[in-house]
Symmetry: C3
Subunit: 661 residues, 3 copies
Amino acid sequence: MTAGRKPPGLRDVTRGRILFGGDYNPEQWPEETWQEDVRLMGAAGVNSVTMGVFSWARLEPRPGERDFGWLDRLMDLMHEHGIGVVLATPTASPPPWLGRLHPDTLPRGADGRTERWGGRQHFSHSSATYRRYAAAITEDLAARYAGHPALTLWHINNEYCTFDYGDEAAAAFRRWLRERYRTLDALNSAWGTAFWSQGYDTWDGILPPGDAHYLKNPTQVLDFRRFTSDMLLECYAAERDIVARHTPHIPVTTNFMPLWTGQDAWRWAAEEDVVSVDLYPDPRDPLGAQHGALVHDLTRSQAHGPWMLMEQAAGPVNWRGVNHPKPRGLNRQWSLQAVARGADAVCYFQWRQSRQGAEKFHSGMVSHAGEEGRTYQEVKRLGSELAAIGAEVTERHVRADIAVLHDWHSWWAGAHEGRLSTEVDLPDVLHAWHRALWESNLTTDFAHPEHDLSGYRLVVVPQLYLLTDTAIDNLLGYVRGGGTLVSGFLTGIADEDDRIRPGGMDARLRELFGIRVLHEWWPLDAGETVACEGFCGTLWSEEIEAAPGVTETVRYRGGELDGLPAVLRTGRAWYLSTLPEPEALRELLGRIAADAGVRPVLDGLPAGVEAVRRGELLFLFNHGREEVKISFMGTHRDLLTGMTVTDEAVLGRYGVAVLKP
Amino acid sequence: MTAGRKPPGLRDVTRGRILFGGDYNPEQWPEETWQEDVRLMGAAGVNSVTMGVFSWARLEPRPGERDFGWLDRLMDLMHEHGIGVVLATPTASPPPWLGRLHPDTLPRGADGRTERWGGRQHFSHSSATYRRYAAAITEDLAARYAGHPALTLWHINNEYCTFDYGDEAAAAFRRWLRERYRTLDALNSAWGTAFWSQGYDTWDGILPPGDAHYLKNPTQVLDFRRFTSDMLLECYAAERDIVARHTPHIPVTTNFMPLWTGQDAWRWAAEEDVVSVDLYPDPRDPLGAQHGALVHDLTRSQAHGPWMLMEQAAGPVNWRGVNHPKPRGLNRQWSLQAVARGADAVCYFQWRQSRQGAEKFHSGMVSHAGEEGRTYQEVKRLGSELAAIGAEVTERHVRADIAVLHDWHSWWAGAHEGRLSTEVDLPDVLHAWHRALWESNLTTDFAHPEHDLSGYRLVVVPQLYLLTDTAIDNLLGYVRGGGTLVSGFLTGIADEDDRIRPGGMDARLRELFGIRVLHEWWPLDAGETVACEGFCGTLWSEEIEAAPGVTETVRYRGGELDGLPAVLRTGRAWYLSTLPEPEALRELLGRIAADAGVRPVLDGLPAGVEAVRRGELLFLFNHGREEVKISFMGTHRDLLTGMTVTDEAVLGRYGVAVLKP
Amino acid sequence: MTAGRKPPGLRDVTRGRILFGGDYNPEQWPEETWQEDVRLMGAAGVNSVTMGVFSWARLEPRPGERDFGWLDRLMDLMHEHGIGVVLATPTASPPPWLGRLHPDTLPRGADGRTERWGGRQHFSHSSATYRRYAAAITEDLAARYAGHPALTLWHINNEYCTFDYGDEAAAAFRRWLRERYRTLDALNSAWGTAFWSQGYDTWDGILPPGDAHYLKNPTQVLDFRRFTSDMLLECYAAERDIVARHTPHIPVTTNFMPLWTGQDAWRWAAEEDVVSVDLYPDPRDPLGAQHGALVHDLTRSQAHGPWMLMEQAAGPVNWRGVNHPKPRGLNRQWSLQAVARGADAVCYFQWRQSRQGAEKFHSGMVSHAGEEGRTYQEVKRLGSELAAIGAEVTERHVRADIAVLHDWHSWWAGAHEGRLSTEVDLPDVLHAWHRALWESNLTTDFAHPEHDLSGYRLVVVPQLYLLTDTAIDNLLGYVRGGGTLVSGFLTGIADEDDRIRPGGMDARLRELFGIRVLHEWWPLDAGETVACEGFCGTLWSEEIEAAPGVTETVRYRGGELDGLPAVLRTGRAWYLSTLPEPEALRELLGRIAADAGVRPVLDGLPAGVEAVRRGELLFLFNHGREEVKISFMGTHRDLLTGMTVTDEAVLGRYGVAVLKP
C-alpha cells in the first residue's frame, strides 16, 4: 500500500450493485460491433467491463508511440451507457517489438531456453527494460484516464504467473538472497550446502535452480519461489503506485488464479484494494461446486470481506483436453454461489467470444451463436437476477467459526522433488479437508498460520509441512486459549529454511498431539488404503508411539501398523496420521466441530444441497439435477422469485433460493 | 509441371507389366553380393529397383568430388538383367561434411535446438547452401544417367517431412507471408493479432511459431504449416526441373508418406508425373486392410488413375514399440489389394535387409534368413502372380460414385492446440467414415472440397473444419445440381484464415443442413458415448435448434441434449452432429448411398470380405483366417489360378481371387 | 591395477570382522553432534565409516585453498573410537566455483544443454580442467592421510554414471575412435555408414550421438557407451593411481550402482582392489529379496570372492514416486542375506539422516526419530549379530555350479531404439532367469561370455544379443567339453560391431541349438502370451525350422506358430525361443540343472524360503511374514541365537538362521 493513501475499496466500485460484466476486447471487432455490444450489454444488465488487458500493441504500436483514440471512444461509449470500466495496464503481453528490440526483456526457462513472443506473458519480471516500458505505458494510461468518469477500478497486468531463470533474474535472485541472508555463511547454513558439496564462496556462484543432473537443493528451490513471487509483486506494486498517484480515489486490483502456486497470495492480497480471482471449474467435475466454494472462501478470507469474481466462463474453456459447455442453469448457479460466499462482482472472460486467436473456442457471454444462443439468453436472465438482489447483498459479510490454514511457503517446501511421496499433493489434501466441511455445510474461512485465530472455534490444518516458530507459537497459544485444533499429517516437519525439525516433527507439536516417537512415515501407494477402526485411510500412514497423556485414539487395524494410533486426541488437539476416506473425514470433522460448538448452516439437508448465509440472507443451492425439498424453520422471502416460502423450499435442477427472513 | 513439357507417366515405366521390386542399397554390400542379388531378383520376377536414395556421401564423399563408378556398374548390371532403375536424387540425407562445413544447412526445432547429422534428413528446406549442393549433385546425376537405358523413373529426395524454425527459415517465412498478405495490416487482420497484443509493426518482428509460454496464434501456426509444405515443394520442384531438363521423357515422382500431415498432397501430386506412396500398416491391426484401402483410394485419387506403391514391408518394420512380422499370405494379399485399388507398381523398402544401421531390423524382400526364409519364398510367389496378371491389369481404372472430401489446410487449422477436444483427431475421423463405406464395399474416391464433384452421386465430408468460400459454393452447387451430401460435425466452422464463421458455422451450410441455431458444442470424453435413437454416438455432440425445413432427424435420447437432433436431413443434405458407432455409421451411409443410387460392388458378402472392381476385373479378398464362400452371378476366370469359377468362389485364409468375366 | 603393486584386498580391511557402518557426513552437523555420533556408533557396533564423499567444497572452499582441520579432527576421533575410515576422494561433486570459473568442466546433455551446479555430478569426464583439479585435491588428501591409522580403504568418487555430449567429450570420442579403428574406412565399415549416407570423410565430422531427427546409428551409440565407460574408468584410474602411490598397502574401491547400464563393470572390477556396490531394493517389491540376491551374486562374481555392500538404506529412500520404509526385521534380513551371498561389509548411506539438502527424506542408520526410533534400535541389534558371526563368516567363499552370463556391450547394443520390441528389456530378462534359479535355491555365479566356464556344470544365457567370435568359441568349447548350456532368445544375433550375423543368428550357434532356419522373430505385445505345450510363453516367440539333429522340443500350440518348436534341445544345448512364465521356467531350469548334476542347496523348502551356503555355513531366510518350518538333516548350531537345532528349524517373520554343522 502506498504510504499515506487512504485505501478505496470494492464498495467504491459497486455502490450497492453487484458488478456484472466481463473482459471486453473491442479492438478485435469493427466499431459497428461496438454498438451491438452496448445494446446487448444493456439488455443483460451489464454494468462493468474490463478493458485494455491485452492492448499494449494497440496502445503503443511502435516504441514510444501512443494510440489512445480508440480507447477514448470506448471509454466515452461505456460512460454514455452507464457502464463502468475496469481499466487494465496492458503489461501482461508486451508487443512483438519489445522482444525484438530488447531481447533482455524475454524470460528464460529452467532449461535455459529463451521464451519469445507469439503467445503471451513473454516478459522477464527482473528485466529493467521491461519494467521501464511497463511503467511508461502505465503512466500515460493513468494520466489520460485519471479523470474519466467511466473509470471505476484499476486492473494491473493479468494473472501474474511467470518464471525466469535468465541472467538478469539470476542477478536479482542474488540481490534478493543478500538481503535475506546478509552473509554467505547464513545462506550456506540455511541451504544446508554442506550436503553434496554445494558450499558457495561468492554470491556470484549462486544460480537459479535450473535443470540439474539430479535432485536440486530444496531450500534453493524454495527461495527461488519466494523470490519469484516477490519479483512479480514488485512489478505489480510499481504499476499500482503509478496509477494510485494519479487516482488516489480509484481502487486497484490484480486478478489471481485460484490456488495458484506462484504467488504468496496472503502477501499479495495485503497490497490490493480489491481482491479478485479468476475461477474455471470443470462443468463435468462432480466436485466443481466444492472447488468453487473453496476458492470463494479463500478469496473472501484474503479480502477480509467482499471480493470480486473477475473471470469465469459462461460456457466452455479451451485449455482442457476436452472442454465441456455449462449445462442449462449451471452458469447462473455457480455465479450466485460466488455471491453467497461473498462476491460483490460476477464477471467473465469475456464479453464476446473471439472469432480469432488462441482462445476463439473459449466461450463468451455472447457466444458464437450470438444473441439467440442459449448462453447469452442465460446471461441475460442472470443479469436481471443480480440486479434484483444487489442492494440486499452487497457489502454483507459471511461469518465463519472455522478456519482452514494454508500457507504458500509451506506448499512450496513440501512439494520438493525429493519428498517421500509424489502422491501427496497439497491442493488435493486441501480440497479433501474443505470438502468434508463443505458437505456438512460448515462454513469456513481460510487463514495463514501466523494470523490471529482467536475468533475461531475450530482451526483445521490439512497440512502445513513448514511452520515457522512464530506459527507454532500461534497454534499452541490458540489451543491454550481454548480453541480446538485438528491437524493432518506432514505438519510441522520443517522450519522456515526447510530444515527437518529434530524428531522428524516439531517437539512442541508432538507434545500437543500426544506423539512420543514418530518412528517412520508410511506413505501409501496410489489407490492403496489402510484399515483403521471404523474407516479406511488413504495416501499416508505413520508409525507413531503415543505419549501417555493421549485422551483418545483410533487405531490402525491389520498390516504393519496394527494397533498403532491412526488418530490421536490430546485435549482439544487432534492429529490424523492418515487421510480418512471422504465420508469418514466428514463424520469425524462434523463431530469435532460439534464438540467445539460449531453448527452447520442448516441441519439435515439432502445430499448435494449447499446452504450458506451472507449477512441475514440464507442461500440454498441444489447441485443435483433432480428436484429436492429443503426444510427449515419460519417464513422467508425468496429474493429471486419474490415469493414467500414457509418451512420448506423446493429447488429444481441447479436450483437456487436466496431467502430473507 | 515444367512449362511446355508433355508429361510422361507411369505407363511409360510399366509398359504393360506391374512394377515389382524395391529400394536397393547395394553400397551396403560387397560386390559379390550383387551377383547373388540379381540371381534372386530374377527368380522372384523383380523388374524394378530404386537406387541412390541415401547415397549422397558415397556419390560425393568430399565436397565437390564425384564417385559414380560403383553406380555405373550397378546401372549396367541392372540393365543386363532386364531390371529398370528408379533413380533417386540423394538429397534426403546430406553427408556429414555438409553440416560440418555449412552449419547453415542444419534445421532448428521448435525449441530452437539445431539438429545435427548422425540420423537422416538433417537439412533445412530454406537453406540456400543446402539447395545449392542438392542442385549440383542432382545436375551431375541427371547428366550422367540421362541416356542410360536402365533409367525408368526419377525419385526425388525421400519422404519430405521436415520442419525448420531457424533464422534462415524465419526469413523465408517472412518472404512467404509478404507474398501472401502484401501488407502488415492484412496479416494482422488475418492472424487476429488484436488478441493478446500480438500486432506486428514490422515484418522483421514475425517469428516461426516456436515453443511459447502458452497457446500460440493459430493462424500463425496454420500459415507456418502452409509455408513448410511450400518450401519443401520448392525443394522438390528445383530438383524435378533439373532432371526433367535432362530427360524430358522420363517421369518424376517423390514418395509420400500415407496421410502425412506435413504436405498438402493435393498440391504436390499436381507437380508429379507419377504419384507414389509408402505404406506400412501394422500386421496386427484388425483394420490394417482398411487403412491400406484408404491410402490406396487417396493415392489413386491424387494420381487420377494408376499409381505406385513405392514402399511397403515384406515383414516387420522397426519403428513401432513392438514390431510384428507379416503372417503367411498377408504380404501377398495386401500387395494384390493395392493392385485392385489401382496400383501398377508393388515395391518394397527394401530388397535385402540391412545387416547394419538404424533399420537392420526392418524387413527386406530377402530377410536375414536369406533365400530359404519364408519371406523371400512368399515374395517369389507373389512376383510370379503379378507377372501373370500384369497385362490384364495395368492402366485399368477403378471407378467410384462416391467422393470423400479431405483437405490438408482444414486438417492443420482444426488441429490447433486450443481446440475444444483433443480426442477429435482428423485421421481417426477419416478412417471411421471410410471404414463404414469400405465395409459395405462401396468404392470411394477422395477429392478436394474445391474439386469438380459433379461426377459423383454421393459426397461425404467426414470433417472439414476450415472451408473457403469457394469450397462452400462448390458444395452448395453440388447439392443444387442433384448430388447427395453428407457431412460430419466440425465442418464449415472457420474461413481460410481460421476465423470462426458468424454463428459458429457457415450460415449457408447451416441453412443447407437445416440448423437454425448451433447453441453449443458438446464434446465427449474419451470412451464416452451419447445415446441417440437407435445407436450411440461417440466423440462429439451438439446442441442444435433445427430449422423448420428439416426433412428428417434422429434425436438424442436422455442427458442434456434429450430430444435435440443428432442427425438432420434437409433434402439431399445430411448432417451428423456426432460420430455414430461403426455399425450405425455403416448402416446409415449404406442407406444414404442406396438412396443416392450407389450400389456396393457385390451384395451380401460375408464379413471380412472385400470386393473391388478394376476395369472389368473383380478382385475378392478374404481378410480372415477362416475359409469363406462368396456368391456372385456368372462365370469368371480366376487370373491367379487360371481356373474357371461359376457363381461361387471359395477363399481360404488371406485368400485372393482376380476374376475376369 | 598399477603395475608392480601387490594388491591389498578386502581382508586387509575386515581383518576377521564384518565391516559395519556407513557414509558419515559430519560436516553437516555441529561438532557436539560428533560426540553423540561416536557414542551411538559404539553402541551399535559400527566399525567403519565412509567420509569425504561430498566434501570437496569444504576441503577446498576456494580454488587451491585447503581446509583439512575438521577432517583431521574427525579422523582422530574415529581412530580414538576404534572406527576405521573409508576415505573418499570428493570428486563426484565439484564446488560451485569450479563450474563458475571453468565452464569447460561442465557436461552437456544429448540435447546440447549444459548441466550446471546446484545438484551433484556436474562434471565432464573428458574435461582436462576437471581432471587436473580432481587430481590435485586427491593428491593432497592422499598425502595428508597416507599415514593416518584410521584409514582403511580408499573410495574413489561416487557412483560414476555421467554422460557428456559436449565439445571436449566429442574430441575425446574421436581420439578413442581413432585408437579403436585406426582408419576411417574401418570405422565406416564397423558403423555401416553406407546406410543413410553417413560416411565420414574426416575424423572431425564425427559427433557424439546427440538428439537426432530420427533413429541414430546403432554402432555409433554403442561405441559412445563404450567410450563413456572408458572415460569414467580413466577418471577412476587416475585418482586410484594417486592414492595407491601414497598408500600401496591400502586397497581402493569405487562403489557401483547395481546392474547399472553406464559402466562395463567386468572391466571396472578388474581395476579395483575391493569390489563394492550400492543396493536399494524397494521394500514393497515382492521380489526385492531376489533382486538383492542377483546383485549379490553379480558383485561376488566380479570380486571373485568377498565383496562390500557399500550403501543400502536402513529405511526408505527418497527418489521413488512413493518411498516405503522397511518393515520391522527387513533391514536385518536383507543385510544378513548379503553376508550369506559373500558380503564382508554391511554399510549404509548414511549414518545420520540429513536434516537439510536433497536427501533429507532418505533414511539413515539414525533416523530423524533418533536413538529411540525403531530404525536405530534395529541397526543396533544387527550390529551385535554381525559382530557375533563375523569371525565365522569373513573370507569364506560361496560356491556355485551354475554361471549366468552377462555382458554390458551386449546389453548396450541390444537396447538400441530401432529394435523389434521395446517390451524386451535386458534387466527384466536377467531377473526372470535368475529368479527361476533363485526360487529353486540353485546358487549361481555370474560370468562374462569370454570367461573360463569350465568350472561350471551349467551355463545359462538369458540373452546375449551381441557375441564376439571369441565368446561364441568359448560357448561352443564349453559344450564340447561336457557342459550344459541353456540360452534364451536374442542371443548371438550381432557381432562385435552390432552387425547382424548372416541368417539372423550366428550359424555355429544355430547348429549347436538345432535351428535350421530362423524365419522370423515374433515379438509379443505387452501382456500377451503364447501357448506352448505345457506352459505359456511371454515377451517373444520365433518362427523356427528345426534341424534334423534336434533331440527334444516343446512346441507352440495354436496361432501362427502352431507346431513349430518353442524350446529345442540338441544334446546338452538348450534354446528357448520364448520366455516361459515364471513357474514353467523354474520347472524347466530345475530339470536341466538336475540333468547336469546340479542340486539345490536344500530340497523341499517351503515357498519364500531361501537357502544359501557360504563356506560350511548354511544360511536360511524366511522372506514371508508367516512362520515356516524347514527340515534338513543333522544337528547345527545357529550362530545368531547360539541354540542347537536338529533336523528342523523354525523361522518367524523375516527370520534368519545361520547354521554351522
